[in-house]
């Protein structure tokens, strides 16, 4: 090949270094504002008006919307029977079911994109609602609009604590989500073993071991030890969701609140309505340290695999006969009943020196603020339908899931009341007595609803994991976690 053919143009041609330099400069110029801001969304379309005489349920017929949800029981039930919604509205609904942390990632990135690929969002109050409430629609836009089908029973039909905890953030009026599920931690135990050994246990322990609000956490510990030492049917008395995971925070919080401890000074307000600046962390208080010390003691007698279990793990262990009892979410009742029909019963968690506390893990569904046009209206029709009493009743009886109703009217339906006793066609209702007590104002446990909760959550469950692994004392753990909370909160939040 000749020099000419090789493309050599002497001094007039672009030098390689020049090209590289220009490329780098161009890349830098493009990368920072261009590449990142390219993630912005397109223009918003108005929602089409209702035509005169048109059925409000069918005004968005033919529209396709996407619902992103955690893989929970109510969504499994809805996914298994979408026909009623499609028949009613003519809307095509696609459901994306994910593990919670994956859902949070997708939602955050979707909000950043500005395109609202997911119009309906399963908005965990702590991981989605608090950090990204500005990315959700205030649902009063639809509730107060007469051109949409009315919200059956109104907002007042939702259990009030749940509506505030799952649906609101910082302000009393805006409603960002409607309560969709309401898993709550209760005491789940092998009734057959308590029946068989109850009297002997009572005689040897010196108290009635029947699970319930009358039991204290100290008694729970004693019962667990007694099972370890005296029963062959199960290897261990108690099991816990103590993996270095969100579940460990949930499990510990029941004890923390029972001992009078809390995460922040204004614990009730921070938990119920939520705030951006929760103030000083009080985990290092005397009560917090006492709770941690007790939890450490409890984990020493628990099934050793507790340190690898999250809620699914401990649920599976109870069903597999590895443990006699555990605190876990009440919506596991349906799968418990399938595996060990009639053998597992439910009660409120034990009390501590201050009170009994039951971690609430409910979530609402909301609409992405970036959604527009027919999809925005169609998303509301789905939210309205999915949280309607009739749908919640149908979910309860679903073989695919077994929901957890969030409306008072559902709990009053005769067939639902009848299902509270065995044989039950709605096994989650077997927990009704326990959760009714758990949801009382004095007994509910609400973790802090703050935008930076994910970082705080990681800090507390990592600290606790170190404590139960024997690397830190309870005092060191709570003091160091409190310091981390203050640093995280001190950095502030801006979505």
């Amino acid at each position: 090949m000749s020099p000419e053919a090789s493309g050599h143009r002497g001094a007039a041609s672009l030098s390689r270094r020049g090209v590289l330099r220009a490329g780098m400069a161009g890349a830098g110029a493009l990368a920072v504002p261009g590449l990142l801001s390219a993630c912005g969304g397109g223009g918003a379309q108005p929602v089409p008006q209702l035509s005169p005489g048109q059925d409000p349920w069918r005004r968005f017929e033919g529209t396709t919307i996407n619902f992103i949800s955690e893989n929970t029981a109510p969504t499994a039930a809805i996914a298994a029977n979408l026909k009623p919604f499609t028949d009613l509205t003519g809307i095509n609904l696609q459901i994306v079911n994910l593990e919670l942390s994956a859902l949070v990632q997708r939602v955050a990135l979707d909000m950043a994109s500005g395109d609202a690929r997911y119009q309906v969002i399963y908005a965990d109050p702590y991981q989605v609602l608090a950090p990204y409430s500005a990315g959700l629609v205030d649902l009063r836009e639809f509730i107060e609009d007469d051109t949409y089908p009315p919200l059956e029973g109104g907002l007042q039909d939702f259990i009030p604590t749940q509506l505030t905890a799952a649906g609101k953030f910082e302000q009393k009026d805006p409603v960002y989500t409607l309560p969709y599920d309401c898993p709550t931690m209760i005491w789940q135990y092998r009734a057959d073993l308590f029946d068989k050994y109850g009297q002997r246990m009572a005689h040897e322990l010196g108290f009635d071991p029947t699970p319930g609000l009358d039991r204290s956490w100290d008694e729970y510990l004693a019962i667990a030890k007694w099972f370890n030492d005296n029963v062959n049917e199960v290897p261990y008395g108690t099991g816990h969701q103590a993996k270095q995971h969100d579940s460990l925070m949930c499990d510990f919080s029941n004890v923390l609140w029972a001992y009078g401890g809390d995460y922040f000074e204004a614990g009730d307000k921070v938990g119920l309505l939520g705030v951006t600046d929760p103030g000083k962390c009080v985990l290092g208080s005397e009560q917090g340290i006492a709770a941690a010390a007790f939890y450490d003691e409890l984990l020493k007698v628990a099934h050793p695999a507790s340190r690898t279990w999250d809620w699914d793990g401990v649920g599976a262990a109870l069903r597999a006969g590895q443990i006699a009892m555990c605190p876990n979410w009440h919506e596991f009742a349906a799968s418990n009943e399938q595996a060990l029909p009639g053998l597992i019963s439910y009660a409120p968690l034990p009390h501590g020196p201050a009170r009994a506390a039951h971690m609430y893990g409910g979530t609402g569904i909301g609409i992405a603020a970036n959604s527009s046009g027919a999809a925005r209206g169609a998303a509301w029709l789905f939210v309205n339908w999915a949280t309607a009493p009739k749908t919640q009743l149908s979910n309860l009886a679903s073989k695919a899931g077994g929901g957890t109703p969030t409306r008072t009217s559902v709990y009053e339906m005769p067939e639902v009341v009848a299902a509270e006793k065995r044989p039950s066609a709605m096994p989650n209702m077997l927990t009704a007595d326990a959760v009714t007590v758990a949801w009382e104002e004095n007994n509910i446990g609400l973790r802090p609803k703050i935008p930076m909760w994910n970082a705080c959550d990681t800090s507390i469950f990592t600290g606790l994991s170190k404590m139960i692994a024997g690397q830190q004392t309870p005092e060191e753990t709570m003091t160091s976690v409190a310091g981390r909370f203050d640093r995280i909160v001190g950095r502030g939040w801006q979505a």
Binding site: L36, G40, A112, K243, H245, T308, Q322, T462
Partner: protein, 315 residues
């Protein structure tokens, strides 16, 4: 002979007239025909790698906001100060280093051992080699799931065996055993790669040198130490380089099995990076961690390449 072959460009240059007084040597090095052919590929590479790289640098000096479209707010050295002064971050680096040394060490020893054993087997070597290589073809996330099931204290086979041997407790529940378990899962998956590379290297050992060594009275171990290993040290270094760069980015198996726990015992740098980026959405801070990882990977690669280069030069 020059250590590097003469390129077409250099040959062309020798035929060109000498540069004028204002024309520097550097100014003559225009884009060649080859360069033009490469240009589309380089442009694509720029789009895929260089732009995100610059974006990452910009993010590391910013607070990244998500709502209403991604935007950067200048944060100065805030993210870098946090990265460099966070004791948890340095603990994760230490864990990553231990993980790197353990996995690479075990994989090299086992991979070499298996390759040497396979080399001495003549009947059924193909079948054995296929079996040995199988783990390498399993997706890391599946290896993690397999590991989780095998070590589960209620129904896991390995847990059952260890319980019979007197181990009480849960493999993934204690910091030391959990760390050992994720190391061994990586070793199980990637030792076959070292075996494969080593086997290829063994075929390149000159048989006449081995014969000469045998005639001089060298036994198997002496030949191995003084002939075989030196002959294939460059190949072993390449294997080590590939695995070292992979090990710094190790993520899948830990994510599936322990997710960094218990007590942060398996929280190596990639897990911490993911946690900050996609759990806390502290993307500026995560970008700084990512750039640190990139620097470390480049340093490791450079160290290996320079060792490799010095070995080549000494031959």
């Amino acid at each position: 002979m020059s250590s590097s072959p003469t390129t077409g460009t250099d040959a062309d240059a020798t035929r060109r007239p000498p540069a004028g007084p204002t024309q520097t040597r550097r100014g003559n090095r225009g884009i060649t025909f080859t360069g033009k052919l490469l240009a589309p590929g380089v442009a694509l590479l720029a789009l895929l790698s260089i732009l995100p790289f610059f974006a990452l640098i910009a993010m590391s000096f910013s607070h990244v906001r998500l709502l209403g479209g991604v935007r950067l707010e200048w944060a100065g050295l805030n993210n870098w100060t946090r990265v460099l002064t966070d004791p948890d971050m340095w603990a994760s680096w230490l864990r990553t280093a231990i993980f790197l040394v353990l996995t690479l060490g075990l994989e090299m020893v086992l991979g070499l051992g298996i390759a040497l054993a396979l080399q001495r087997i003549f009947r059924g070597r193909g079948l054995l080699l296929s079996l040995v290589l199988l783990p390498m073809f399993v997706a890391p996330v599946i290896v993690g799931l397999l590991g989780r099931y095998m070590t589960d204290s209620t129904f896991g086979l390995y847990a059952w065996v260890l319980q019979r041997l007197g181990f009480q407790g849960d493999i993934l529940g204690s910091p030391t055993t959990a760390f050992a378990a994720v190391v061994l899962m990586d070793v199980w998956e990637w030792t076959p790669l070292i075996t494969l590379i080593t086997l290829a290297g063994l075929t390149s050992v000159n048989p006449s040198v081995l014969e000469a060594a045998a005639l001089d009275g060298a036994g198997y171990w002496k030949s191995l130490r003084h002939v075989v290993l030196p002959s294939m040290s460059s190949i072993l270094l390449v294997a080590l380089l590939i695995r070292a760069m992979d090990a710094v980015r190790y993520y899948d198996i830990i994510f599936v099995t322990t997710n960094g726990g218990p007590a942060d015992a398996t929280k190596i740098i990639p897990i911490r990076l993911f946690e900050n980026a996609f759990r806390f959405f502290d993307l500026g801070y995560a970008a700084a961690i990512g750039l640190m990882m990139l620097v470390v990977t480049i340093l490791i690669a450079k160290a290996f390449v320079s060792v490799l280069g010095s070995k080549e030069l000494t031959r």
